[in-house]
Amino acid sequence: NAGVTQTPKFRILKIGQSMTLQCAQDMNHNYMYWYRQDPGMGLKLIYYSVGAGITDKGEVPNGYNVSRSTTEDFPLRLELAAPSQTSVYFCASNPAGNTEAFFGQGTRLTVV
């Protein structure tokens, strides 16, 4: 049972570079989320999606973009990476709101 799979696990980017963090789930969940977590802190919602073709901004969307062309995949795009985007990124999914969210293992991103 794969659950939520995130790739890559680690990445170092130079300032101004761009990259896509991949997230895939095999549970046929409608809802998917991207969070970032800074050291010792909670999770900040970047973007979320309640179904294929639908995305919405969370608390901290600036500097990021997402797409949801399929139920399974929810990639997060960073354009023009900045040091402030150094963080651990978690993708999550659940079948509907207010239900248990299943998290990936996280992507640790460093921007230098």
């Binding site: 909670g42 919405d56 709101g97």
Partner: protein
């Protein structure tokens, strides 16, 4: 402004002691969830509370949802070193379906 305020931010206790951590908001939530996160891992759901005034028990952990559904508490009896971790509350405001946000968490350290 943090939608969900957790307190205390850090808590260090001896094994065998009892503790309570809190999750407060000025908003009404249709439900609140408590997660536990270990270093290097994604959060894992402990419980979901749905009804105002609800109390749920999970072994030595007792969760309570406030009558007005704006706050929740987690009480641990006779803490063990294995309880060490980051405890997060999360909720979805009724008006924002799918927008699930987290508090900043309580970092609990249980010393032997």
């Amino acid at each position: 402004t943090q939608l969900l305020e957790q307190s205390p931010q850090f808590l260090s206790i001896q094994e065998g002691e009892n503790l309570t951590v809190y999750c407060n908001s000025s908003s009404v939530f249709s439900s609140l969830q408590w997660y536990r996160q270990e270093p290097g891992e994604g959060p894992v759901l402990l419980v979901t509370v749905v009804t105002g005034g609800e109390v749920k028990k999970l072994k030595r952990l007792t969760f309570q949802f406030g009558d007005a559904r704006k706050d929740s508490s987690l009480h641990i009896t006779a803490a063990q070193t294995g309880d060490t971790g980051l405890y997060l509350c999360a909720g979805e405001e009724g008006a924002n379906a799918g927008k699930s946000t987290f508090g900043d968490g309580t970092t609990l350290t249980v010393k032997p």
